[in-house]
Amino acid sequence: MHYSVFSIISQAFKGQKDWKPVWRYPDPKAEYEILIIGGGGHGLSTAYYLAKNHGYTNIAVIEKNYLGSGSVGRNTTIVRSNYQEPGNIPFYEHSLKLWEGLEQDFNYNAMMSQRGVLNLYHSDSQRDDYARRGNAMMMHGVRADLLNREQVRDVVPFLDFDNARFPIHGGLMQWRGGTARHDAVAWGFARGADSRGVDILQNTEAKQIRVENGKVTGVETSRGFIKAKKVGIVAAGNTTRIAETAGLRLPIESYVLQAFVSEAIKPLIPCVVTFGAGHFYISQSDKGGLVFGASLDYYTSYAARGNLPGVEDTIEEAMAIMPSISRVKLLRHWGGIMDMSMDGSPIIDKTGIDGLYINCGWCYGGFKATPASGYCFAHLLATGESHPVATALKLNRFETGYVIDEAGTGAQPNLH
């Protein structure tokens, strides 16, 4: 059902009675051409682009819980393409460009808000690091602005400019970055995929990938065996659990990342702000809550919840840049499972098994990648070739040494 000014007005007068379900609840077919494991943002966008760009209709997404139940619905909603490494820049910029036209494309308001992403720097050497990154972006035509202290003050005057332990020297701004309404992204892709004939099978858990003679034949699920010519794993934090059933071992560890939201207050923070002398990022939702997060809880985990040290560290970092929010109250904190790769960058690639493809290793950065991840994975699934903007995101790069380590912290996932 198309959303338009006309449909909105007419439904307002009909008591909203005629809206149709945004997706179906189909039964699984015996066989699909492509089966996507994982109905999160990336899985749904993969299905959407498979249908839209490549004309696939006989495909399905299986999701063990409700669609969008993973990280797409529990992140801090930041969208940006301010990367440093040549392997990442074209991919994330492609993603940002897709974001910029996404709502018109899938006819759903995901509240993409290009309010700017500001990375604060706190020393001369950090300024130079950020300049390096900004210049790398500019090499690819992605605009970045290096702001001095006074320019930062103009944007976010309420930060602690006078008494901070790590004084604010300036910031790197990407004005095109911003935030989006996370759930709506999943719902928009789901609705778009469903309307193009994709079966989204909720509450359907993948139990075992079936491989015969080195070739994928389908997936055992909680609703029976489903045959498929190709299978794509897009299972985020659970990637290795699924891949293991096909005998694959991956350079991935799963960690909990906590996210936080405060009580709603009137508008204070105009853009996304990150703290450079730690690892902290904050924005304010349209509803008024401050939405923020910091580093992982430092141990591997599949429990979608964190612990107090992580909570306190995060809030100390919040107070470090904006002590005026001491009286704002934390409303809720929760955790999600991150598929942390060994170099901090994602993997979109074939595997050694014919017909089995993986899309994983999103680390902290999965949400912003949602459109391009699906776009490129769909391209790979449909054509067998990496999309030109995703050629660096290879699985074998750890073997060859072509790693994409933005932070330079090495093969230690909890340090990225």
């Binding site: 390096r132 602690d160 709603a264």
Partner: protein
């Protein structure tokens, strides 16, 4: 007269302590023991807030922390705090509160126009609209939405109050001091076990303060008083009022917030406003009680509509009759208790409207009693002016009243049981979600477990308290459950009045109605999580404490599913919102992280040094001669003096690791790229360390002080990481090696004395028996010496500056004395102290790598240091540093860079392009890592990595800095700019 709704006697307030307070500029009176809500009600202030979306007038729904409506801004100026629940804010003299989310006034709020537009503003309306035209979202729609949303205003300025963090340990933590919690604490406390009893309120007693009950032969409050007195007499019991257990974390860690001074205007000197605890408890009892359920019917949000228990609480605890002509709307026998209490307080009960046709309980006196009836809607806008009811036979009646008391059964406060992933389970018998798989170590007692009767609750608490301490090895005794007065608990919830007229609110604060939930279901948002996220039910500041269960029931009804099938959403910590300041404690401003000062800090301060942060350290950046001397001029002066005469620099921040044992040499061979086992005693060697993935992690020098005694230095930034790495290598990889090591970074003050006169200065300090002539103590020599008449020291002939230089180390406590002694000794040679700027310039002139080059992305080969990777042995990272990508010929490699025009100010972070090449990732040749103005070359110089750089020495490329708007032609050169033969260093 003020306080028209105050009873002349009774209650737990202190009439001897009248308090004055202001709400929205008007002054009122209350008493000690009041909350802001009870005091407002005493003054017949019913309208206190506006709702989030429709800006509907709202009053006070509850008497506790579950309050969704009555949120206010408390205090003024820098102490102003948004979104404070009036129902838990304790009244103090001079309290000032304002209503929020309204303009221009609470009474007349323009935002209420949203109510008229509500046919458009159904759940999820924004997902379907605001998309046209594209550019309008950021410019028009979003600012409007943001301004309209958001409740209270953000605080402004620095918080004048302080917050603390604290830790506590106990055998048993009791959460909630109602009847169950008091009983559990008593049973456990008498056994001698360490008990912490925490309650969010200022008084113990919980529901016993709100209801008129008898325990044994005492009134509820008297029993509480007696129990509290006994608990207070037990030294092993700690009572923590005003303390909310906000979260449960792994392994018996409980997050708690103590509101130490929220109940006064300003905290006394040296006291925090709030204190956040981590409580480590072997076991815990959750006795958090239950929250009463509202009914869902037309205009159920009007001021004057209140929960039944809340109304009893205002009457019995606060001696306030919230409204004087009340209609009781009940699906539970509890409603009749409310009627009795109202009558006892002299109020009029206009009718009891019981939704149960088969209710067996009788109404007091001759109150109109309608069974099988329901309220269709509330009349009135800013105050209840009546209700329209539908009788069992379908007849419609209008009833005059100014208040409604709702009782629709209880939702056990199971929230904390969910914090570790537990899922509540629906129970048809109690019509409630009960704790499911609770966290290890936690037991649930009383109403939180669905045991709503008082006697049952007391028995629960006593039994659990006793059995838990028994399991912990204590002996509980003398526990008998007291008798209580009879009570009647029957109830059959009515999830909503389907035939209602007007908006029926489920989530009051977020303005979520029953039709919103139906719409969500109609659009396919059938999972509870989908419904919650689509409608925002339960996502307001109260986390849906009064709303969630009704919402689930309505979703179940709309989708034809039972409660058990629908399930619940997950309750997340914190139980009630916690001020961010409290969770940060003292870690604010300069106290955010510790500040490490070097041994010469005080002396440097006296010299007027300018300091800079390097990690946690503060280091001298430069020593300006005059106030106006710029960093650049100071640096040039410091370099010139050092290179021509002598300079001194505090290098104590470098990591220092003392290694001992017969296998240290072998160990170092494995962790360093070079060979160390062959290093003679009395010598120093430069070492490079890789991570196992083949990238450089750190560099430094290691000295062999004796056969089995070595000293390693690391970079300042790498000190901690290297130490952990070495411990890993020893304890995990090669535990068989006979070595032991410890960090001695803080134990040694170390200064670098550099320049042609460095030895001349040193000779004046070193005790004469130690020969330090060039022959006796050549480049890369080291040894233990004494200085200044017998003070033990270590001397190292090493140089980062490229000059003849020494590093001299003494025990940290001599650090200050030594810098002064060096400066004295150096005076005749014109010595200068130099800071990080000069240090950095000199090392760049010499092409030495440092932090910017050791960025975790470079290999020894990239840095031109392959010559110090021994090809004869393995070491950490060796194999991985030889992966194909690392050997690729076009991998960027370290070179020096000189601008064509020496005045061109090079910048770190600039990228390199060939002349004429267009900016693109393909054409990107590398980037500038470090830059400096070289006083020796009278030119800016830089170190950077350039693709095929070594093959291109002498060629000219462009250093392009888009973000700073500069572009210079630079010549690729050898990274060693100054004294490439290393003549000066050998003295």
């Amino acid at each position: 007269m003020s306080q028209l709704h105050r009873l002349s006697s009774g209650g737990l307030i202190d009439r001897a302590k009248p308090l004055s307070f202001k709400f929205d500029g008007k002054t009122y009176q209350g008493f000690a023991g009041d909350t802001l809500a009870s005091a407002l009600l005493a003054n017949d202030v019913q309208l206190v807030a506006r709702s989030f979306k429709y800006h509907r007038p709202r009053g006070i729904l509850t008497a506790g922390s579950e309050e969704p409506n009555a949120l206010v801004e408390l205090r003024q100026g820098a102490r102003r705090e948004p979104n404070v629940r009036a129902t838990t804010a304790e009244l103090y003299d001079g309290l000032i509160a304002q209503s929020q989310n309204r303009w221009p006034s609470l009474y007349f709020d323009f935002g209420a126009v949203n109510s008229l537009l509500s046919p458009f503003f159904a759940a999820g309306f924004y997902y379907k609209t605001f998309m046209w035209p594209t550019a309008f979202w950021e410019k028009v729609y979003e600012p409007l939405i943001r301004r309209a949303a958001g409740l209270g205003k953000p605080p402004v300025g620095d918080d004048p109050d302080t917050y603390e963090k604290a830790f506590a340990h106990c055998d048993l933590l009791v959460i909630g001091a109602g009847p169950a919690g008091l009983a559990a604490a008593l049973a456990a406390g008498r056994s001698g076990a360490r008990v912490i009893l925490a309650d969010e309120g200022p008084m113990l007693g919980g529901r016993l303060l709100s209801d008129r009950r008898i325990i044994g032969n005492q009134s509820g409050p008297d029993w509480v008083k007696a129990t509290e007195a006994e608990l207070a007499s037990l030294p092993n019991v700690r009572i923590m009022p005003r303390t909310t257990i906000f979260g449960i974390y792994d392994h018996g860690v409980y997050g708690a917030l103590e509101r130490v001074n929220d109940h006064v205007a300003t905290p006394p000197a040296h006291e925090p406003r709030q204190r956040a605890y981590r409580i480590y408890a072997k076991r815990a009892v959750l006795a958090a009680g239950a929250i009463e359920r509202p009914h869902v019917f037309g205009n159920n949000d009007r001021p004057g509509v209140m929960l039944g228990l809340a109304m009893r609480s205002y009457i019995n605890r606060y001696a306030v009759v919230p409204t004087k002509r009340v209609a009781i709307f009940t699906s539970s026998d509890e409603g009749y208790a409310t009627a009795h209490d109202l009558i006892a307080a002299g109020a009029s009960v206009q009718a009891i409207i019981d939704t149960r046709a088969d209710a067996t309980i009788s109404a007091p006196n001759d109150i109109p009693h309608f069974k099988g009836a329901r309220i269709l809607r509330v009349l009135g806008n800013k105050q209840v002016q009546g209700v329209e009811i539908e009788l069992k036979d379908g007849a419609i009646r209008i009833l005059d009243c100014d208040g409604v008391a709702m009782s629709n059964g209880w939702n056990p406060a199971v929230h904390l049981t969910c914090h570790l992933g537990g899922r509540p389970v629906w129970d048809d018998k109690t019509n409630a979600f009960l704790p499911g798989n609770v966290p290890a170590g936690l037991s649930v007692a009383g109403a939180a477990q669905g045991h709503f009767g008082l006697k049952e609750t007391l028995a629960d608490g006593l039994r659990l308290g006793a059995s838990i301490v028994d399991e912990l090895g204590f002996k509980a005794s003398g526990i008998t459950t007291p008798d209580t007065d009879p009570e009647s608990l029957a109830h059959t919830p009515l999830w909503r009045v389907k035939t209602s007229k007007g908006k029926c609110f489920v989530d009051f604060q977020h303005d979520v109605t029953d039709t919103d939930i139906e719409l969500a279901n109609r659009e396919g948002f059938r999972s509870v999580e989908h419904m919650k996220r689509y409608t925002t039910l339960g996502m307001a500041t109260d986390q849906g404490k009064t709303a969630n269960i009704s919402g689930l029931a309505i979703l179940g009804e709309a989708s034809g599913r039972k409660m058990a099938e629908v399930g619940t959403t997950i309750f997340r910590p914190p139980y009630t919102p916690v001020a961010l300041g409290a969770l940060a404690g003292h870690h604010v401003h300069k106290g955010f992280r510790p500040t490490r000062l070097t041994p010469s800090h005080q002396w440097a301060e006296e010299q007027g040094a300018v300091f800079m942060e390097t990690g946690l350290w503060l280091r001298a950046q430069y020593f300006p001669k005059t106030k106006n001397e710029s960093w650049l001029d100071a640096m040039i002066r410091e370099v010139e003096i050092t290179r021509s005469k002598v300079g001194v620099c505090d290098v104590s921040t470098l990591g220092k690791i003392n290694l001992q044992g017969k296998d240290v040499g072998t160990f170092l061979d494995r962790v360093y790229t070079g060979t160390f086992s062959t290093l003679p005693v009395g010598k120093v060697r430069y070492g490079l360390m890789m991570r196992e993935d083949g990238f450089v992690q750190d560099d430094g020098t290691t000295s062999r002080l004796s056969d089995n005694h070595w000293l390693m230095t690391t970079t300042t930034a790498g000190a901690g990481k290297v130490m952990a790495h070495l411990e890993f290598c020893h304890q995990v990889l090669w535990p068989e090696l006979d070595i032991a090591f410890t960090s001695v970074t803080e134990q040694w003050a170390q200064y670098s004395i550099a320049g042609p006169h460095s030895r001349d200065v040193l000779i004046k300090l070193v005790d004469p028996q130690h020969g330090i002539s060039n022959e006796a103590f050549p480049y890369m020599a080291c040894g233990a010496i004494t200085i200044c008449n017998g003070i033990p020291a270590r001397l190292f002939r090493i140089s980062f500056s490229g000059e003849m230089a020494y590093e001299i180390g003494v025990s940290n406590r001599y650090g200050d004395a030594l810098i002064r002694a060096i400066m004295d000794a150096g005076k005749e040679f014109g010595i200068t102290p130099y800071g990080l700027e000069a240090l950095s310039t000199m090392r760049i002139e010499k092409g030495h790598v440092a932090g910017s080059e050791l960025n975790g992305q470079t290999t020894p080969r990239d840095l031109g240091l392959i010559k110090i990777v021994s090809q004869k042995k393995d070491c950490i990272g060796k194999h991985m540093s030889e992966r194909p990508a690392m050997l690729a010929p076009d991998r960027p490699i370290l070179v020096g860079l000189k601008p064509k025009n020496p005045k061109s100010k090079l910048t770190g972070g600039a990228h390199f392009l060939d002349k004429g090449a267009k900016p693109s990732l393909e054409n990107d040749l590398g980037h500038m890592m470090s830059v400096a103005y070289s006083p020796m070359l009278k030119s800016w110089i830089g170190l950077g990595i350039v693709k095929r750089g070594r093959e291109r020495i002498g060629e000219t490329i462009r250093a392009v800095d888009f973000v700073r708007g500069t572009e210079f032609e630079v010549e690729i050169c050898d990274p060693v700019f100054f004294d490439p033969e290393g003549v000066r260093i050998r003295g």
